[in-house]
């Protein structure tokens, strides 16, 4: 399989946030700013690459009946490793993302990729799938975080664009998360429809 093709697939065709609509909880919960969204995306991507590779490597050794519990153990292991490293070396980001770090375990994206891709492909292909999907997730979270931060506080990555007092606070709060994501998915749908209409 073409490696670039796999990455493109994860970024656009099967974008986990805008197309597959997976992993909504961290998408909504951690994107109050562009930086937080990116941090969460990268953390998930790291775990996804590792778990994809590990699962692909041991896929022949696991009896099919217990494969799901095995996948969960592998994913939970990498999540805990990440959790400990973040606590040690990035304590402030760890504090901001809070409970969403251990909850990467139940992010449907990871188990979904393990079942749909890693259990059927080679280690190297699985790694590229992890990169593609992880990158697609990171981009989506960063975009959502940027939009919310810009509308809510008037800055992007903490860099002020317009005065904070003109910002609409609701976009930083819970309702804004739902509404911004809804509008972004609609926009993505619209672009894809245009593509298919023309083709």
């Amino acid at each position: 399989m073409n490696k670039l093709r796999i990455i493109y697939n994860g970024l656009v065709t099967e974008n986990p946030t805008f197309v597959l609509l997976l992993g909504m909880c961290p998408t909504l919960g951690t994107t109050s700013s562009a930086f937080n969204g990116m941090g969460m995306g990268l953390a998930t991507m790291g775990v996804l690459i590792c778990s994809n590779m590990a699962i692909s490597a041991i896929k022949r050794l696991i009896p099919s009946k217990v494969r799901i519990p095995c996948y969960i153990v592998v994913i939970a292991t990498f999540v805990t490793v990440l959790q400990m490293f973040m606590q040690a070396y990035l304590p402030s980001l760890y504090a901001t993302l809070g409970i969403f770090i251990p909850l990467i375990v139940v992010n449907c994206i990871l188990l979904g990729r393990a079942e749909a891709f890693a259990s059927r492909h080679t280690v190297i292909d699985s790694m590229f799938d992890g990169i593609g999907i992880g990158f697609g997730f990171t981009i989506a979270l960063t975009m959502l975080g940027t939009v919310r931060e810009f509308l809510g506080t008037g800055s992007i990555f903490n860099y002020g664009i317009y005065p904070e007092t003109y910002g609409s606070l609701v976009f930083i709060l819970a309702p804004g998360a739902f509404i911004a994501l809804g509008l972004m998915i609609a926009l993505f749908n619209r672009i894809r429809q245009k593509h298919t209409d023309h083709a």
Binding site: P63, P69, C70, A76, I172, L173
Partner: protein, 199 residues
């Protein structure tokens, strides 16, 4: 995947994977345990340094728990000394009356009980409203907001809405009350600590 996987094989493979995970985690835990403690200590030390008068001792090593009269829980007091004489202290205080939960703040006092600084350690207040307390109460341009240099024994540390001397955060009165509530608690603890030391 072969058909008819035996129960034994399933148990063994799941067991082996769990054991490998546990071993890996134990190893990562052993190498990150110290940096995690270090990061927590540093955060605390930075907050103490930011709020107290200049000192030459190690306030964390001299940490003392003070039980203010009429309070349910003790507060941690970190005494700051120069040449062995008490010059002030940092007090880690809290208030459970925040808008959406508990807030915890490190307050600094000089020997006379004047506020020398504060550092918000933890809160779950509304982003964009309540979390403005990080900066609000030390705005040197506004004497009505600023608590730095004031003595809680002489100034009425209540929001002006409640007839006090301090201007609360716009649209976040509950957070402001909680902040001043925590300050009052910290001040009581400090005075108690200072007076017990003098004797």
């Amino acid at each position: 995947m072969k058909k008819g996987d035996s129960l034994l094989k399933m148990v063994i493979s799941l067991g082996v994977i769990t054991c490998i995970s546990a071993a890996l985690l134990a190893w990562v835990y052993s190498i990150t345990a110290d940096p995690i403690k270090q990061a927590e200590r540093e955060k605390q030390a930075e907050a103490i340094k930011a709020v107290t008068p200049v000192y030459d001792n190690d306030p964390i090593a001299e940490e003392d728990d003070v039980m203010p009269v009429g309070e349910p829980a003790p507060l941690a007091v970190f005494p700051a000394r120069r040449n062995g004489n008490l010059v002030g202290a940092a007090v880690e205080s809290y208030s459970s009356d925040g808008f959406s939960g508990e807030i915890s703040v490190m307050y600094g006092f000089d020997i006379n009980g004047n506020v020398t600084g504060y550092e918000v350690l933890n809160h779950t207040e509304t982003p964009g409203l309540g979390d403005k307390m990080d900066e609000w109460f030390r705005d040197s341009l506004s004497t009505q907001r600023n608590i730095i240099g004031k003595d809680p024994a002489k100034t009425d540390m209540k929001v002006s809405k409640d007839g006090g001397d301090i201007d609360g955060i716009t649209a976040a009165t509950i957070t402001s009350r909680a902040f001043l509530d925590a300050l009052r608690r910290a001040h009581n603890a400090f005075i108690q600590y200072r007076d017990s030391e003098k004797r």
